[in-house]
């Protein structure tokens, strides 16, 4: 092991292992995860090539092969529960380009469970589980994304044959982007506008067969293919789909909610609120994914910064580890704190979800909407922060961060997709804001608000009471609460002002976008801070005091950094003064120094195996340079000492020029 990184591990004030248990949710879970990792990483059938060196075509082939092998192994090891299967796939795919059939497992199957009748589930689930039917979820179109009411694909009921006719009427109505759609799926759930008896009833899900199970050729009327290379995830094929009057039986519409009867009568669904549940879970999962992606980036950058030495501080002195530079700490430690914050926020959200599920069983659905709203906000907020955070980590590694050897470009390329999938972040913030505005007017008319938004109706505080550094943690939540409250009210006033000035509602709304998005972010930020603070101070947190104390330091950094970065928001109404801001900024320097000796242990605690990190800069043993060289030698350009382009282009030129002399 590299001696510098060894020393880092020895000087930590806590045991990384203890913190790993906290992150995993208990020691037994850590054990289980590691056992699975051991099985997978030692299985020669489940090794995967470094996709950095493959063409898109090779990468896609390798990923498909790997996915099938994964399913075989799941059967072989008799892994039964959905949760365990998901964990197996997650680990086996190394969170890298190797994942090939996620949509089948994560979207296609859950949609049938969530939207299919019992009879439909009985028919399809066995076929899906034994992978006879491989499917995808086809919603977005070439010309239509987040706004699903705008989709153009139609499903028209033909009572004569008891069939739906699925059709893409225009170029812009082609399905575009669904994962696994291009070549792997033989079925898809196609979201289309339902027409029956000449009337449109909005979008509904339809099960459509795309390819023959005999020879896998597309069925008549089906045009399907790959949409081309992307920023990353090229081992994973996104597809396009054009349907030319494709007929499917009536019972292929998923009818748990809305129904179409034999004669074409449309039956409206009852409340759709319950369907939010699966969306909440998906967004909790996204927040966790964002946390893990950011944590991976931090692991790579912090370990490398402990190994890398640069620039002498005193003439002739030894070059210090770059992790000793305050500017480097200032880049990395806030990102590290944010990664922890998102772990705990997704955990809390999950707990709230479970609680609310109980409430729903007793018929109380009041909390469903605020829960759905905070999950939307959290997906947007965490992926935004992650997006910048990964880039900060990459840039903190200097030139080497730019090489795929570091793993960071690939990590960024894959993770940044979180900002635009499943609802573009801006649109999600505006949805959050829409709900907050409703709450603001309810509060104004004296109605009680659900827990998650109750703060909006509190009487506002005038002044932050912090006098010195030790007060901060006790007043952290109230600072963020105050900011959220003020910005929600400010957005509501902006809307009101526009309306009073005679603007139509949609215009007023559009003219207030900036204020609305600010309010939504502040609301979410407040939630994250509250989760983090409650978590580290919770009586239920059973872990040694030295772990608690290091978490408290991280939490305080998260709090202070957020105030420092958004100082204007807190100062705008005089709630926090210039002196208090200076106090907070000063605290940050101190916190960075406190975290410094624990930095490597804090990333070790994430417990990402080298196989998962896929980074030579971030390897556990710190033998960075040796591994970089080994990695570079594998570059296909190095196959021959003299590249073929020499014979084709360079040699003729060099020789022609030589004769001229």
């Amino acid at each position: 092991m590299n001696p510098d990184i060894q020393k880092e591990r020895e000087r930590a004030t806590f045991t990384a292992e203890q913190l790993t248990y906290v992150l995993d949710g208990g020691r037994h879970k850590t054990k289980k995860r590691r056992l699975m990792e051991k099985i997978i990483f030692h299985d020669p059938d489940l090794q995967c090539p470094d996709h950095s060196f493959l063409s898109k075509n090779e990468s896609f082939n390798a990923a498909t092969k790997h996915s099938i092998m994964m399913e075989k192994k799941i059967q072989k090891h008799k892994i039964k529960s959905d949760e365990d299967k998901a964990m197996f796939r997650m680990i086996a795919s190394r969170r890298k380009d190797t994942i090939s059939l996620p949509v089948h497992h994560l979207m296609f199957r859950p949609t049938i469970v969530g939207q299919g009748t019992e009879e439909q589930q009985r028919k399809w689930l066995p076929l899906i589980d034994n992978m006879t039917v491989i499917g995808t979820y086809a919603q977005t179109e070439l010309g239509h994304g987040t706004f699903i009411r705008g989709l153009e694909t139609t499903a028209t009921f033909d009572p004569k044959t008891d069939e739906f006719v699925l059709h893409s009427p225009t170029l812009t109505s082609m399905k575009w982007w669904p994962g696994n759609l291009a070549f792997q799926s033989n079925h898809a759930i196609v979201i289309a506008q339902l027409y029956t008896k000449g009337q449109c009833h909005g979008i509904q899900p339809f099960m459509v067969q795309l390819r023959s199970l005999e020879d896998y050729r597309p069925l008549p009327g089906v045009t399907v293919g790959d949409i081309g290379p992307k920023m990353a995830n090229n081992g994973y094929c996104n597809g396009f789909l054009k349907l030319d009057n494709v007929r499917i039986p009536r019972e292929n519409m998923l009818m748990k909610y809305a129904k179409v009867e034999r004669d074409g009568t449309y039956i409206k669904p009852q409340s759709m609120k319950l369907a939010y549940g699966s969306m909440v879970l998906l967004r909790v999962a996204f927040t966790k994914t964002a946390a893990e992606a950011l944590a991976s980036a931090c692991t790579i950058a912090v370990r490398y910064s402990a190994v890398r030495r640069q620039t002498e501080q005193t003439p002739g002195g030894v070059e210090p580890q770059i992790l000793d530079y305050q500017s480097q700490q200032y880049k990395l430690f806030p990102a590290l704190a944010a990664a922890y914050a998102f772990y705990f926020a997704s955990e809390s959200l999950n707990n709230i979800y479970q609680q609310i599920q109980q409430e729903i069983k007793t018929g109380n659905i009041a909390s469903m909407t605020p829960l759905h709203v905070i999950s939307s906000g959290l997906k947007a907020f965490s992926s935004d922060v992650m997006n910048c955070g990964i880039e900060t980590c990459r840039l903190s590694c200097g030139g080497h961060g730019y090489s795929h050897a570091s793993g960071l470009p690939g990590l960024y390329g894959r993770a940044t997709a979180l900002c635009t999938v499943e609802g573009v972040n801006t649109v999600l913030y505006l949805q959050v804001a829409g709900y907050l505005m409703k709450c603001a007017s309810m509060a104004a008319s004296g109605q009680t608000l659900p827990d998650l938004v109750a703060y909006i109706s509190k009487p506002p505080e005038q002044q932050w009471s912090v006098r010195n550094g030790t007060d901060i943690m006790n007043q952290a939540v109230s600072a963020y609460e105050h900011r959220a409250q003020r910005l929600v009210v400010a957005a509501a006033q902006s809307l009101q002002g526009e309306m009073t000035a005679g603007k139509a509602q949609h215009e007023a709304w559009n003219n207030s976008h900036i204020a609305l998005i600010k309010a939504a972010k502040a609301h979410t930020h407040y939630f994250v801070v509250k989760c983090f603070v409650n978590f580290v101070r919770s009586k239920d947190l059973i872990t040694p005091d030295n772990v608690k104390s290091v978490l408290e330091t991280l939490c305080k950094l998260y709090v202070c950094y957020g105030i420092h970065e958004n100082a204007g928001d807190f100062m705008q109404d005089g709630y926090i003064s210039g002196e208090q801001i200076a106090l907070v900024t000063n605290q940050i320097s101190g916190l960075l120094a406190t975290i410094r000796p624990n930095a490597v242990a804090l990333v070790d605690a994430f417990d990402f195996k080298d196989e998962i990190l896929g980074s030579v800069l971030g390897c556990y043993d710190g033998n960075v340079y040796q591994k970089m060289y080994e990695w570079a030698k594998q570059s296909p350009l190095n196959k021959d000492e003299v590249h073929e382009s020499y014979y084709k282009y360079l040699k003729p030129m060099l020789q022609a020029n030589k004769s001229k002399l």
């Binding site: 092969k65 010309g143 920023m231 200032y330 997006n387 795929h404 060289y629 590249h643 030129m653 060099l654």
Partner: protein
């Protein structure tokens, strides 16, 4: 195909003459004409293969980059492009298309280093060989374990007087040269930076000409280990390389000896103090400003045209979906970036003038403004490249999912240009260099020594509160400049004071310095930001242009300044220089400006004048037929060659084994 009607309407709604603004951006009509001529030579020459690189392998990409690299130099001769700037513009066309040039470093670094550091005799020997491309070279400085800190390099060149030779050697793995462009597979020579040892003493880093590959068969020379460092975020057509040297012998005369010399007996002759060398470093940094402005302008062009074509969500129930460019949230993403791109173009023009002035001074032996300019260009390079990189990503994300596809051109634009942040001086280190100079000047100013040049404001008295009284005051260039000036004054002085306190606490200069990094970076950023606001305003005032162009540029300039205030509100509220009320007025005026810019948005990106051939983006095409072109592009994907993909061989066994169960 006819132009998309939405885009057509946008162009008709513009209130200024696009062509006029193009001239301003280029620095004059004459320059526009020449630029277009140079671009068209490159784009219309059928010897180049401009087909989309998204669909080929890295190996194919590299081969193409070799072919193009050679062609570029041949075409420059053929078309008789003799002006240095224009030659670079011709070469740069390739980079702007995100295509590769595998011998780019030969003309960019190798030849200039021989010119700058070789004696006349050395130039006479090597330049004809290099210019006629009998030898192809690169510049090898950074090592696996050593980057920005040049004194830390480990490669050695030890002089052996008996043979009149240097032995060039990389003693450890960490001393392998790592990253130099074109090094891996293409070049046969390099200027290698190494620690010079003579008579048992080390004299620091010097440049040595080393032959790496045989001129007959391109095999590596004895003792030379060389290869490609592997795929990267961007620039994959380039063979960035590694180089290990095992006691490679070169003649004494291969040390470039314009400055330092080693005599045959091994006596080291110290160079005279050389300040001219700073000049070329600054030149590269000023060039980065221009390339960054262009990269951001390309991203804006793509995102704004697409936002005019893309329609989404209904604002009014039942009505047609609006263009996404109509959403305030979309304007908040794109218009500040648009203003920033213009700010950087005009700042570059101003900086280039200052640079030319400095060169004049240096030639006259007048060095007084050297440090001031060096500090400014270092900070500018850092500020501009990081704003550009973030800005491209904002533009990409504003295109929703489609921005993620290579069809948009945005991923490649980002991955290619983001490397400006770490190349040629890592940004944080550059800002700290700027800060070091500022701290010195602040100290001098506080002790009453009047400062001049870019730091002159440190000697000015500070105003306590802004004079802004009304919303129209917010638009006043004078008031906007004052706001930035005050912020820079305050943050530089606060950093200096903190540094002083830390010094008296710790007594160790480097410890004190390290504990103030946060404040130092903030101060340097504020200094540069202030300069950009001034430069934008100055260039706008002093450049001749049509009234309609001036009026729209004025709005962009105001927007740039107001957005910076809005975005860094805490800095201005901190000491009550701006009151909360004044800040609200700034935000309000910023939003008002959006409305004025909206009908001009497409014309403003048209004025950047990127031909489709350079933009290489289906989302950003001039005619706006986005969806047709996306579909055509997707059909080129090699995976679509067969309706049933090769990988069916993995699916089939699984499917057929279960078929009976259906």
């Amino acid at each position: 195909m006819p132009v998309n009607p939405d885009l057509q309407r946008e162009r008709e709604s513009a209130t200024f003459a696009v062509e006029e603004l193009t001239h301003v951006k280029d620095g004059g009509k004459g320059k526009t004409v020449r630029r277009r001529y140079i671009e068209s030579l490159a784009l219309n020459d059928s010897d180049f293969d401009w087909s989309d690189r998204s669909f080929i392998t890295r190996d194919e990409e590299y081969s193409l980059a070799v072919k193009h690299g050679i062609l570029i130099e041949q075409k420059i001769k053929k078309y008789n492009i003799t002006d240095q700037e224009e030659q670079n513009a011709f070469r740069n066309t390739v980079m702007r298309k995100r295509q590769g040039n595998a011998i780019g470093l030969h003309t960019l670094m190798f030849i200039p280093t021989i010119k700058g550091q070789g004696t006349e005799e050395q130039q006479k020997k090597w330049l004809p060989l290099a210019e006629s491309m009998q030898i192809i070279g690169t510049y090898a400085q950074t090592e696996l374990g050593h980057g920005t800190f040049v004194r830390g390099l480990e490669t050695t060149a030890t002089y052996i007087p008996e043979k009149e030779e240097f032995i060039v050697h990389t003693p450890k793995l960490t001393s392998f040269k790592w990253w130099p462009g074109n090094l891996g597979k293409t070049v046969n020579y390099a200027v290698v930076m190494a620690q010079l040892y003579s008579k048992g003493k080390c004299y620091g880093v010097h440049p040595f000409l080393v032959q790496l590959r045989s001129l007959d068969n391109h095999q590596p020379m004895k003792g030379v280990t060389i290869g490609d460092i592997g795929p990267k975020f961007g620039f994959n057509s380039t063979d960035n390389g590694y180089l290990g040297l095992d006691h490679v012998r070169i003649p004494r005369t291969n040390l470039l000896m314009k400055y330092a010399k080693v005599l045959p007996d091994g006596t080291y002759v110290k160079p005279p103090r050389d300040k001219l060398a700073y000049g070329s470093m600054m030149y590269v940094r000023v060039a980065y400003l221009h390339m960054s402005a262009e990269a951001l302008a390309m991203a804006c062009t793509i995102a704004i045209r697409y936002s005019a074509v893309r329609r989404q969500s209904e604002m009014i129930p039942g009505e047609r979906e609006p263009q996404v460019l109509d959403y305030q949230s979309q304007q908040m993403k794109l218009f500040p970036q648009l203003a920033t791109a213009y700010a950087f173009y005009l700042t570059q023009q101003k900086t280039y003038q200052l640079y030319l002035g400095l060169l004049d001074d240096l030639r006259k032996g007048e060095y007084s403004s050297l440090q001031d300019m060096h500090a400014l260009t270092s900070g500018l390079k850092a500020f501009v490249t990081s704003a550009m990189s973030n800005g491209i990503d904002v533009c990409r994300l504003s295109c929703g999912g489609h921005g993620y596809s290579h069809t948009s051109g945005l991923p490649e634009l980002y991955t290619m240009y983001t490397h400006f942040q770490t190349a040629e001086g890592e940004n944080t280190i550059l800002l700290l260099q700027t800060a070091r100079y500022l701290m010195k000047c602040a100290g001098n100013a506080m002790s009453g020594d009047k400062q001049t040049g870019q730091v002159g404001y440190l000697s000015d008295t500070t105003q306590e509160n802004s004079n802004i009284k009304s919303e129209s005051d917010v638009l006043s260039f004078e008031e906007l400049t004052n706001v930035y000036k005050h912020r820079a004054q305050r943050l530089v002085k606060e950093a200096a004071m903190k540094l002083q306190t830390e010094m008296s606490n710790t007594k160790q200069q480097h410890v004190a310095w390290n504990s103030c990094h946060i404040e130092l970076l903030t101060a340097a950023t504020a200094h540069v930001h202030y300069f950009i606001v001034q430069a934008f305003i100055d260039t706008l005032k002093t450049t001749e242009m049509a009234d309609s162009a001036r009026s729209i540029l004025t709005k962009l300039c105001q927007l740039y300044a107001m957005y910076g205030i809005h975005d860094n509100a805490g800095d201005f509220l901190h000491d009550n220089y701006l009151s909360p009320h004044q800040l609200s007025m700034v935000t309000k005026q910023m939003v008002n400006t959006f409305a004025l810019l909206r009908p001009n948005a497409v014309a403003l990106v048209d004025a950047f004048d990127f031909p489709d051939g350079i933009l290489a983006s289906t989302l950003g095409t001039y005619d706006g037929n986005v969806y047709e072109k996306m579909y055509q592009w997707a059909n080129h994907s090699p995976l679509n060659k067969d309706e049933v993909h090769d990988s069916y061989k993995y699916l089939q066994p699984m499917l057929t084994s279960k078929q009976s169960k259906l």
